[in-house]
C-alpha cells in the first residue's frame, strides 16, 4: 500500500501523469458520470468545463480519491487510485470547491496539520509551511483563525494547503472563486508558474479564465466528454463555423463587388464586406465548422481574381459561443 513514489517521476512528457479510463459513477438512479476518459501530461494546464450538474465535481472527486468510480479506473502517476489509493492520493494536491477548512484553527497550525497528514517530516514541514505562506501571501494572517478570514484568504489558505507536499498533479475546483481582481491575477500567475513542472486540472465557470490559463479544455456535459482540445480548437469547432478576416485590394484599384468571388469558395457560408481607405476592402468570411482549414482556398481564390492580399487571419471565435453551441448540438460528442 505504501510503496514509495519516486520524487522525480520517470514519466516523460509523453507518458500521462493522470489517466482517467472510462469512469462511470451513479448516485442511486442518477448517472452522474457516464464513461469519461482523458489523459493528462506533465506541463499541461487543463480546464474542466461544463454546465452545472455535468459531472465535473464528481469526476474530480473520483480523481482525488474521495469516491471510487463504479466502473473504469484512474491511474495517478501509475498508481491505481482505488487499489493503491494512498500512494495515488499522495501524488495529488487538491482544492475542493469553496475550500473547506477548520474554522477554529490558525492558518499556520492548519498548514502544519495538513503537511503532517501528508507525511512530511518536521524539518520539511517547517519549510513547506513557510513556502506555502510565502507562495499564497499569507504573512499577515498566519496567526489568525481561518474562520475570521475573508473568502479570498480562505481560498488562498486552501490553495497553500493543497501544495504543501509539492504534488506532481494539482486539481483545483474553482480556484479563483471569491478572489478580487488583483488576487485573481496573482493566482493565475501562480498557476502558470506551478504548471511548469506539474499537471494542473482546473475546474472553473469563468470561461475567460480557462481561455487565459489553460492549454487544453475538456468539456463535460451530461456525464460525458463532449469536446477535448485547445481553446482555439474548441472555438473553431463551434457550430457557428470559423471566422476569417481578409483584407484585399484589386490590382488596378477599381472597386469591385468582391463578395461573389469568395462565396464561391468551398465551405464559405457568409461574407461580410466593408470598405477601408485607399481602395482596400475588409471581408469577414465565415466558413462551415466541419471543413479543414480553408485559408489556402481563400488565398487561391484571391489570387485567381488577381487581388492583392495584405491580411488573411483566423479571427478568434469566442470560446463562450463555441461552448454554448457545442452543448446545444446533440451530435457534437467528441
Amino acid at each position: 500500500m505504501t510503496a514509495p513514489v519516486p520524487s522525480n517521476p520517470p514519466a516523460t512528457d509523453t507518458q500521462p501523469t493522470l489517466s482517467v479510463q472510462g469512469v462511470t459513477k451513479s448516485f442511486g438512479r442518477v448517472q452522474a458520470v457516464r464513461g469519461v476518459s482523458f489523459d493528462l501530461r506533465r506541463g499541461e494546464v487543463v480546464g474542466l468545463l461544463g454546465p452545472n450538474g455535468a459531472g465535473k465535481t464528481t469526476t474530480i472527486r473520483m480523481i482525488t480519491g474521495y469516491m471510487p468510480p463504479d466502473d473504469g479506473r484512474i491511474l495517478v502517476m501509475g498508481h491505481d487510485n482505488v487499489r493503491d489509493s494512498l500512494a495515488a492520493r499522495r501524488c495529488i494536491g487538491s482544492l475542493p470547491e469553496a475550500a473547506p477548512l477548520y474554522a477554529e484553527m490558525a492558518v499556520e497550525d492548519y498548514l502544519d496539520y495538513r503537511a503532517r497528514l501528508f507525511g512530511l517530516a518536521r524539518a520539511d514541514r517547517r519549510v513547506a509551511v513557510a513556502k506555502g505562506i510565502d507562495r499564497c501571501r499569507l504573512h499577515d494572517v498566519r496567526r489568525r483563525r481561518v474562520g475570521q478570514l475573508s473568502k479570498g484568504f480562505k481560498q488562498r489558505v486552501g490553495l497553500a494547503s493543497s501544495l504543501l507536499h509539492e504534488p506532481p498533479i494539482v486539481v483545483l475546483d474553482e480556484p479563483t472563486d471569491g478572489l478580487d481582481p488583483t488576487q485573481v491575477r496573482d493566482a493565475r500567475a501562480m498557476i502558470r508558474e506551478l504548471a511548469e513542472s506539474r499537471t494542473m486540472l482546473i475546474c472553473s465557470h469563468v470561461l475567460s479564465e480557462i481561455e487565459q490559463m489553460c492549454s487544453r479544455v475538456i468539456l463535460i456535459a451530461g456525464g460525458r466528454v463532449r469536446a477535448d482540445g485547445t481553446p482555439q480548437q474548441l472555438a473553431a469547432r463551434s457550430a457557428d463555423g470559423q471566422l476569417f478576416t481578409l483584407e484585399v485590394r484589386s490590382r488596378d484599384g477599381s472597386s469591385r463587388h468582391l463578395e461573389a468571388i469568395f462565396m464561391k469558395v468551398q465551405g464559405v457560408v457568409d461574407v461580410l464586406e466593408s470598405n477601408l481607405p485607399d481602395g482596400w476592402t475588409r471581408l469577414k468570411v465565415r466558413t462551415r465548422a466541419d471543413l479543414s482549414d480553408p485559408r489556402e482556398r481563400l488565398a487561391a481564390a484571391a489570387s485567381d481574381a488577381d487581388l492583392v492580399v495584405r491580411e488573411l487571419s483566423h479571427a478568434s471565435a469566442s470560446l463562450e459561443r463555441a461552448i454554448v453551441s457545442l452543448l446545444e448540438s446533440p451530435e457534437a460528442a467528441a
Binding site: Y66, M105, D124, E166
Partner: protein, 251 residues
C-alpha cells in the same frame, strides 16, 4: 521546482496521532469543549459534595462513580456529535478523505481525540480525590478509587464508540447528539427492564447491563469480564464506524 519532500504517505501511527491531536486541540479552541467540561465538573462537583462529602460518612467515592456513569450519558454525545458529523456538514471531510490516510486512521484518530478530551475532562476530578484525602481520617482506600477511574475511562470509551458511530451516520450534529443520547439512555435502562423481559432474553439483558458493571467497579472490584466487555463493545462500534465510512465512499 526546488525541494521536493519525499513522496511517502505518513505511517498509520503518525496519521492517527495527527488527527487525534487536531481533534483534541479543536475541542479547546471551541466553546463546546469548555462548556462540556464546565457542565461536567459542576455536576460532578455537586454529586461529590452531596453524596461523598458527608460528615461522618464513609471515606469512599462509590456514589460519585456510580452517578458519574449517568453524567456521561449527556456528556459523551456532546463530545462525539462533532467528530464526523461536523466534518461532513462543513465539507472538511473531503480534504481529510483525500489525504493519504486510510479511513481506519481517520476513525481511530477522531475516536482517540474524543477519548483524550474525555480524559482531560476527568482530570480535574482528581481534585475531589485530594479533598477527600485531606478531610477524611482514616484515609480512603485507594483501590476502589483507582477502580472507579478505570471504570469511568472504560465507560467513556464505550459510550464514545457508540457516539462516533452515530456521528458517522449523519451530517446533523443535533441528530448525532439525540441519537447517541437515546441509545445511551436505553443502555442505562436495560438493567431496570431485566425482570420484565421473557426468561430467554433475560440473560442477554443481564450481560448488557452496564450499570451493574459500573456498580462493581465502584465497589472496588475489577472484574476482568467487565473490562473485556467494555473493550470489546468499544472495538465493535469503532469497527462499525470504519465500515460505515468506507461504505459511504461508494455511495
Amino acid at each position: 521546482m526546488s525541494t521536493t519532500p519525499a513522496l511517502q504517505p505518513p505511517s498509520a501511527i503518525s496519521a492517527v496521532s495527527t488527527i487525534a491531536r487536531r481533534e483534541l486541540s479543536s475541542f479547546f479552541r471551541l466553546p463546546v469543549g469548555w462548556v462540556a467540561i464546565a457542565l461536567y465538573l459542576f455536576l460532578a462537583g455537586l454529586v461529590f459534595i452531596v453524596a461523598t462529602l458527608q460528615p461522618g460518612g464513609p471515606a469512599s467515592m462509590r456514589e460519585f462513580f456510580t452517578l458519574s456513569g449517568w453524567l456521561l450519558v449527556p456528556v459523551a454525545p456532546a463530545v462525539s456529535m462533532r467528530l464526523l458529523s461536523e466534518e461532513r456538514r462543513t465539507g472538511t471531510i473531503e480534504p481529510l478523505l483525500t489525504a493519504p490516510v486510510s479511513d481506519t486512521c481517520v476513525v481511530l484518530g477522531k475516536y482517540l481525540g474524543g477519548m483524550f478530551f474525555l480524559a482531560c475532562m476527568l482530570l480535574p476530578t482528581l481534585l475531589f480525590v485530594a479533598i477527600l484525602y485531606a478531610v477524611s481520617s482514616p484515609a480512603p482506600d485507594p483501590g476502589p478509587i483507582a477502580a472507579g477511574y478505570l471504570c469511568l475511562i472504560l465507560l467513556g470509551m464505550f459510550y464514545l464508540s457508540i457516539g462516533v458511530l452515530v456521528s458517522s451516520l449523519t451530517s446533523n450534529q443535533t441528530l448525532a447528539f439525540l441519537g447517541t443520547f437515546f441509545a445511551l439512555v436505553l443502555i442505562q435502562m436495560l438493567g431496570g427492564v431485566g425482570e420484565y423481559v421473557p426468561a430467554v432474553s433475560r440473560d442477554i439483558v443481564r450481560h448488557l447491563d452496564v450499570l451493574a458493571r459500573v456498580a462493581d467497579f465502584a465497589k472496588g472490584v475489577i472484574d476482568l469480564s467487565h473490562v473485556v466487555f467494555f473493550l470489546c463493545g468499544s472495538a465493535l462500534f469503532v469497527v462499525l464506524t470504519i465500515v460505515v465510512m468506507e461504505s459511504r465512499r461508494w455511495r
